[in-house]
């Protein structure tokens, strides 16, 4: 069968168009415009080209060795220099170009150390309005080796809430050491040496038992009272009248 002339011509035209499209798609359009892979690697390159602004503590230690050594032994040993002094990569490259600021006023330290109920228990916190008002923190505490300026003398320095509760209770006149044996080390390293707590019903019975000689304490028959419970399960020793 003879193919008509017009069909042949149309076939040539279609072949040329198809060839042109393929040529354009695979050779003329640069690969960077269509390739996902290249787009992604270009994005990664752009990302990698971004300047580093925080140099990192290791870099700081290179020059400021004294501060680093001092800091490495104190409570602030895990703090990054740039957490307080701000981003300093520029300073690390050319020390003269920029001097990282050192916060010296009372506004900065409370960012971490002001009392906030949401902070974890045990994190050192103060009430900035009551704690030596108007004095800059650095006049007593060295930020590179922060320790309390002196060992606390009274239990209430840390356990204020218990102290105030006890002060309005009938146990107000008892010293903390009446019931707790406090190792000396507890004052300087509180978590490594914990004070003791009474462990037996007989301990309370020393004052509150029938046979006690103590005149001002209410007496009960310890063997018949509250059977198997410990005294402090019903009576909070720092506020014995309140029963929760």
């Amino acid at each position: 069968m003879r193919i008509p002339e017009q069909v042949k011509r149309l076939a040539v035209v279609i072949a040329v168009i198809a060839g042109g499209v393929l040529l354009t798609r695979f050779f003329i359009i640069p690969r960077s415009l269509v390739s996902t892979e290249l787009h992604r690697s270009a994005t990664v390159e752009r990302e990698l080209a971004k300047p580093v602004k925080l140099a990192g503590s290791v870099v700081c230690q290179g020059c400021h060795e004294d501060e680093a050594v001092k800091k490495s032994k104190g409570y602030h040993k895990n703090l990054s220099c740039e957490g307080c002094h701000g981003p300093a990569a520029q300073h690390a490259e050319d020390p003269g170009a920029m001097k990282p600021p050192a916060p010296r006023d009372r506004k900065f330290c409370p960012v971490c150390h002001a009392y906030d109920a949401s902070r974890p228990t045990g994190f050192p916190q103060i009430n900035p309005t009551a704690h030596n008002p108007l004095k800059p923190c650095i006049s007593c505490h060295n930020p590179h080796d922060p320790v309390p300026p002196r060992t606390p003398q009274a239990c209430s320095a840390c356990h204020g809430q218990i102290e105030r509760t006890k002060a309005v209770s009938s146990h107000a006149l008892l010293a903390c050491t009446t019931c707790h044996v406090v190792p000396e080390r507890h004052k300087t390293a509180p978590r490594t040496a914990l004070p003791s707590k009474p462990e037996t019903r007989d301990f309370c019975a020393k004052c509150h038992g029938k046979d006690s000689t103590r005149a001002d304490a209410p007496k009960i028959d310890v063997s018949g009272h509250g059977n198997s419970y410990m005294c402090w399960q019903c009576h909070y020793p720092h506020l014995p009248e309140g029963r929760g």
Partner: protein, 265 residues
């Protein structure tokens, strides 16, 4: 114009267009070549150093909620490092305060947004049962919903487990911002493109820690490589009971939380 003239014109028009587009595309192609050469130079740390292979790494972050003191050093460092707008509603990372009342009411708010309520610390009064801080950031999900929905393929997961945004391709349609279940994305009004945490990819590839991890004073944030057995993150995941945000969505986040309260969303 008859049909013959039209078809003749067509034969000349297409190659001419191709040549023009080739001329226009030449500088772009050159640019790509230069960019391609980049990583070989940047990653070789010495004559014998192995080139960076992204398949050997899989990055993640661990967050120990019980250590966060809500000081916002991470937020400040992130903004400085990544040139995030200073306005208090653009964040790559932020800290949320959870307050759980005795009657069960839970309030959550970002302490970095300067509303009147967020400035006031929680009062010690009566009916607060628990309260704590939770740092949040992009979770760099293994199955990221934001990548699925991007109509132009501008956001993608790298082989080392980081979700990045191609700001040259992003058309600013905000679809990904809607799709992210963690609210980690925002539209940068300067570039009109989406932006979010990149795990400080530029720092990590240079061997540095992300800015937020670097400055965290209590080590509440841990960064590491899940493919390396010696990484701090693997140790963190071994030593703690780990939870992720919104596990039911099957996004498989790579930000792992330890000591996470059941109320955290």
């Amino acid at each position: 114009m008859n049909k013959r003239d039209f078809l003749k014109g067509l034969i000349f028009f297409f190659p001419a267009g191709g040549v023009l587009s080739a001329l226009a595309g030449a500088p772009a192609a050159k640019e790509t070549e230069v960019q391609d050469a980049g990583p070989k130079g940047a990653d070789a740390k010495g004559p014998g150093a192995k080139p960076y292979n992204s398949r050997d790494h899989y990055y993640g972050m661990g967050i120990e909620i019980g250590k966060c003191i809500g000081c916002s050093r991470c937020v400040e460092a992130c903004k400085a490092e990544n040139d995030v707008l200073r306005d208090p509603f653009f964040f790559r990372t932020w800290i949320e305060r959870y307050v759980i009342k005795k009657e069960g009411e839970v309030t959550v708010e970002s302490i970095n947004v300067k509303s009147r309520a967020s400035k006031e610390a929680v009062q010690e009064d009566a009916d607060v049962l628990r309260t704590f801080f939770v740092p949040k950031l992009c979770n760099h999900c293994a199955h990221p919903p934001c990548v699925q929905v991007c109509p132009v393929g501008a956001t993608f997961s790298t082989e080392d487990g980081v979700v990045l945004i191609d700001s040259n391709r992003c058309i600013g349609c905000r679809y990904c911002i809607q799709a992210c279940p963690y609210g980690a994305r925002y539209l940068d009004p300067r570039t009109k493109t989406a932006d979010k945490c990149s795990f400080c990819y530029h720092r990590v590839r240079k061997g540095l820690l992300p800015a937020c991890v670097e400055v965290c004073p209590t080590q509440a944030r841990i960064f590491g490589d899940l493919r390396s057995k010696a990484s701090r993150l693997v140790r963190f995941a071994r030593m703690n009971k780990i939870h992720v945000l919104k596990p039911a969505l099957n996004t498989e986040p790579k930000v792992y939380y330890a000591q996470m309260d059941g109320e955290v969303r």
